[in-house]
């Protein structure tokens, strides 16, 4: 028999069911015929031969019956028996089954939800050709620890033209474009993409054609490629979309094609709606020659046979010539030197690049995975306790089955099958819960500015994960009851029918261990919840340096209207005046960068003549252009000197207002008013600026970042104005109510300016979204864990009281007071609690370290949080113990003594 036929017969044997009957029939019949033939050969007539054969054989049916009995039962058949039995058992105790299934659905569902998010954000490969051959090209600068992802266009062009390491490279940058024709913005998610973007990725067009290198040459007029989703939603998938024009930021681009279905770009969580070539940035007002504007990300595809370390070595060698060719000419010699020393760094990009949502939520997701994992463990512990109690109740049945000849292994297998069945039902429900839960989470983290889109389909990996933890759970909470209930000592002891025997005590011992473990895990979760909640409240209550309430932000862009500086200044002046005159406006001002605007890394070198700051301080200052009313609109307190006034104009002395941090760094212990400071940069001019005021530090990028050295320059003294600016309006009532009035006011000055509205409060809330999420989720799961533990503790204590009822009765009959009985019970609980709390504190010291980077304003071993968590746990635990303790106190000695 060769291997194939052996496998066939083996698998057939495994799955045989009704076929076996026909097989057996055929075999026996064939035997009879052979015997008959032998008889015929020696001369017996046919009919006689058949009769004799049958007689010799014996009754056919009886033999068949014997055969069936001796065949035995296959593994699959016995497994099905176990499943049927398990289902029957579960149906017989609906209360237990419901509770267990719901608990498991919640636990497994939470785990699956978080895992599917992790899968979508971090694990799923890009749906392109051979994603494992893609590498991201970043660079390392001497100025920072972390590698930088964004590069300038000149560097990109250098790499594109001179690299010999990759079979193809491309660059892209996500950008929001405005579809509207003046007035309020109608945003569309777009990307600037180099000509090779789609080719190197191996993406095919769903209609028309995609970008090519000839589309991306300097001076191009630009074309557009639609993303598949956008083609469906905005153009209903019509072929007529190809060839029509799309208006982006006021300029028209012909649509030449649609990209492949299922491909949504290289930024995880941010699908692109439209892609235009990088050269088109020049049309939209962006210079392609700026050597210090960092906006492009790059990816390369390794040549066949090459590996990433070879490529890395080669790129390192190429770093000096490539960076050297595009050094920013207007930087200081020192900065230029640092620039020249930049080196390229490669890392795998099969799942997309590091940044965006992955950077923001990578660590929190991993921590959440740990949290829901611990909650599931606690839930399993509860179910294990319940099953232990149930198996004690089924002892008679088990004794009977063992004495009838069942093997212990068979019984254990049957109990495990029941457990896995339970967790399988829970897992199926959990999958539905997970889909709902993860969609909810994605909606929670989607903000106005950054909508998150994740494809949360349940793919093979998520399904495998769910099945794995379902089986694991089933085994986890089933194995202990299975082993314990089939042990011979336990069984012989149980036969006596008394609960107060070795069996009962052993049961309560393991139950107590389980609860102690639950207490420990709950404490860890409570401490974690406490840390995250306090981080969030710290952020919400800190002094940001401005008052975010009731401030309407209006971003305005005149979009290359080609206005000269004086015309632009006059336009701005008119707009501001109109805004200030609106009813309901407390004050209004204008600035280039509003707080929490995150994105623009606009810093300059700063120096004070004759003073050198201590080592380790970067000579950088973050700049902002503002109108005089800015500080009062933002409610940023003035600490010294004065703010800008009308007399600070283009013709008067160049002045500057600095923040407290800058003052302390460069003028320690002195009054900086009247002194001068030099800030590099062509917009400011090369003259030193006179300091006229010091304001309080204000948060710039986001609430959880440190204050930065900042300086404010009056708008009137800026040499070249930009076409985009922001107006802040402090309103008397809800900011949103004023939007129509602001829209009209702006339109009356310039109809084609595009407007974007948001509120500072919204931005402040969005900037702490991740901390908010962690606080809410960890609080929820911490509370859940506490509830489950309380239930578990109650169950065990109730059992302990039942176990010792007899003893309590004797004590009371001998004169013990109720108080001493209470102390007796509480002492039992206290031991379990103490063990659990000790283990929990130990564990938390090790585990909470993982969350260090996510905390704000406190360390992972913050004593007050620890103390509070322990106190909460003990309080709830004592409450849970009190009920059975009270029952112990109320025991009637006469009844107890008779109780067995």
């Amino acid at each position: 028999m060769n291997l194939w036929s052996r496998i066939r017969s083996w698998s057939r044997a495994l799955l045989r069911r009704s076929r076996t009957e026909t097989d057996m029939d055929a075999e026996l019949r064939s035997h009879l015929e052979s015997r008959a033939e032998d008889l015929i050969r020696i001369g017996v007539p046919r009919a006689e031969a058949l009769r004799r054969a049958r007689l010799e054989f014996g009754g056919l049916e009886r033999v068949k019956e014997e055969c069936r009995k001796s065949r035995g039962v296959t593994f699959v058949e016995s497994l099905l028996q176990d499943l049927r039995f398990g289902l029957r058992m579960l149906r017989k105790s609906p209360g237990f089954t419901t509770v267990a299934v719901l608990t498991l659905a919640l636990g497994i569902g939470a785990n699956t939800a978080i895992f599917s998010l992790i899968d979508a954000v971090m694990l799923r490969m890009l749906p392109v050709q051979n994603p494992e051959r893609l590498v991201q090209i970043r660079f390392k600068s001497l100025l920072s620890q972390d590698p930088m992802s964004s590069l300038t266009n000149p560097i990109w062009e250098q790499v594109r033209d001179h690299q010999d390491v990759f079979s193809g490279v491309f660059a892209w940058s996500p950008r929001t474009f405005d579809l509207a024709d003046g007035g309020e913005e109608n945003d569309i998610n777009g990307i600037y993409a180099s000509g090779d973007y789609f080719t190197v990725l191996g993406v095919r067009p769903a209609a028309g054609r995609l970008l090519t290198t000839s589309d991306d040459v300097r001076g191009c007029s630009g074309v557009a490629v639609l993303g598949y989703g956008s083609w469906q939603s905005r153009y209903a998938g019509a072929q007529s979309a190809i060839g029509s024009s799309i208006r982006l930021n006021g300029h028209y681009f012909p649509i030449v094609g649609v990209s492949q279905r299922g491909f949504s770009g290289t930024d995880v969580g941010r699908p692109f709606d439209v892609a235009i070539p990088i050269c088109a940035a020049a049309i939209l007002g962006r210079s392609l020659d700026m050597r210090d504007a960092w906006w492009l990300s790059m990816i390369g595809r390794l040549k066949p046979g090459a590996n990433i370390s070879q490529a890395q070595a080669r790129m390192k060698v190429l770093s000096a010539p490539l960076f050297g060719a595009v050094v920013p000419q207007d930087w200081s010699a020192k900065s230029q030197d640092i620039f020249r020393k930049n080196t390229f760094l490669l890392n795998p990009a099969s799942t997309g690049v590091f940044g965006g949502i992955r950077q923001q939520y990578g660590q929190p997701l991993k921590i959440l995975m740990l949290v829901v994992g611990l909650v599931l463990l606690i839930a399993c512990a509860n179910i294990a306790s319940l099953l232990l109690a149930r198996s004690a109740a089924r002892k008679k049945e088990i004794v009977l089955r063992l004495s009838l000849g069942a093997s212990r292994a068979r019984l254990i297998r049957q109990v495990l099958t029941e457990s896995i069945l339970l967790s399988a039902i829970g897992a199926i429900l959990g999958v539905f819960f997970a889909r709902w839960g993860s969609a909810l989470l994605v909606r929670f983290v989607s903000t106005n500015q950054g909508q998150v889109f994740l494809n949360l389909k349940t793919d093979a990996r998520v399904l495998a994960f769910t099945i794995a933890i379902a089986v694991l759970c089933g085994v986890l909470f089933g194995v202990l009851p299975a082993l314990r209930s089939t042990r011979f000592e336990a069984i012989s002891a149980m036969k006596e029918g008394s609960a107060q025997t070795a069996g009962g005590r052993a049961h309560s011992a393991s139950a107590r261990w389980i609860v102690a473990a639950q207490v420990a895990l709950s404490l860890i979760l409570l401490i974690g919840a406490g840390l995250f909640i306090r981080t969030f409240t710290n952020l919400m209550t800190l002094n940001a340096g401005f008052d975010p309430n009731n401030v309407l932000l209006t971003e305005m862009n005149v979009h290359s209207a080609g206005l000269s500086d004086p015309a632009l200044a006059s336009l701005y002046g008119q707009m501001l005046a109109k805004l200030q005159a609106l009813p309901g406006v407390v004050s209004a001002s204008q600035c280039l960068l509003y707080p929490l605007s995150s994105g623009d890394e606009w810093n300059f070198e700063v120096s004070v003549p004759g003073y050198k700051p201590p080592n380790g301080v970067e000579p950088l200052v973050y700049l902002n252009w503002v109108t005089p009313g800015y500080f009062s609109t933002m409610r940023t307190p003035l600490l010294e000197g004065r703010v800008f006034a009308a007399r600070d104009s283009a013709n008067s002395t160049p002045v500057v207002v600095i923040n407290q941090l800058l003052a302390n760094t460069y003028f320690p212990g002195q009054n900086p008013i009247g002194k001068h400071i030099q800030i590099g940069g062509p917009e400011i001019g090369d003259k030193p600026l006179e300091i006229i005021g010091v304001v309080q530090n204000a948060k710039r990028d986001s609430l959880d970042q440190d204050f930065l050295s900042a300086a404010y320059v009056p708008l009137a003294q800026i040499h070249s104005l930009r076409e985009d600016t922001t107006f802040e309006i402090r309103t008397a009532t809800t900011p949103g109510a004023l939007i129509p009035a602001v829209r009209d006011a702006m339109a009356s000055v310039n109809k084609s300016a595009s407007l974007g509205f948001s509120t500072l409060k919204q931005l402040a809330d969005d900037s702490v979204l991740q901390e908010h999420l962690m606080a809410v989720l960890s609080g929820f799961f911490g509370g859940l864990a506490l509830l489950l533990t309380a239930i578990g503790l109650y169950g065990v204590m109730a059992y302990v009281v039942t176990l010792r009822t007899h003893e309590i009765g004797i004590r009371m009959a001998l004169g013990a007071q109720k108080g001493s009985i209470l102390r007796l019970v509480m002492r039992e609980a206290a031991i379990v609690l103490a063990a659990g709390v000790a283990a929990g504190l130990l564990g938390s010291m090790w585990i909470t370290r993982l969350a260090r980077q996510l905390l704000f304003g406190l360390t992972p071993d913050d004593p007050s949080t620890l103390a509070f968590a322990v106190a909460a746990l003990v309080a709830v635990a004592l409450a849970a113990t009190y009920i059975p303790a009270r029952r112990a106190m109320r025991v009637d000695p006469m009844v107890a003594l008779r109780y067995e």
Partner: protein
């Protein structure tokens, strides 16, 4: 000719294993072979053959496969597995020991007691 001996209890399994060890056979063939090598001195109940075969198969000592018999009929062939071979050796060993012991007891003369 002497009357055929009845099979001792529990020995059918051994005989089947032995018969099959020589070469794979179908049920009827096993019957014939046992009769042949016992030179027709054993009486075998045909009705107990197949339950024994199924039991031995369930225990993993023989394996079955459908094939074609000599007269072009479909028949189920049984062959000895590796475990079955080991089992046969053990059974043989035990049988020899048992028969030695019993023979020894039965040979005891009154003087040796």
């Amino acid at each position: 000719m002497d009357k055929q001996l009845e099979l001792l209890q529990g020995t059918l399994d051994m005989l089947i294993l032995k018969a099959v060890s020589l070469s794979p056979l179908h049920g009827y063939g096993i019957l014939l072979r046992i009769q042949q090598i016992s030179k027709d001195r054993l009486e075998i109940q045909q009705g107990s053959l197949y339950p024994a075969l199924y039991r031995l198969e369930h225990q993993g000592w023989i394996a079955s496969e459908w094939g074609e018999s000599e007269n072009n009929r479909r028949a189920k062939y049984y062959r000895l597995t590796a475990a079955g071979r080991r089992r046969l050796k053990t059974e043989l060993h035990n049988w020899k020991r048992m028969s030695d012991v019993i023979a020894g007891i039965l040979r005891t003369t009154p003087e040796e007691v």
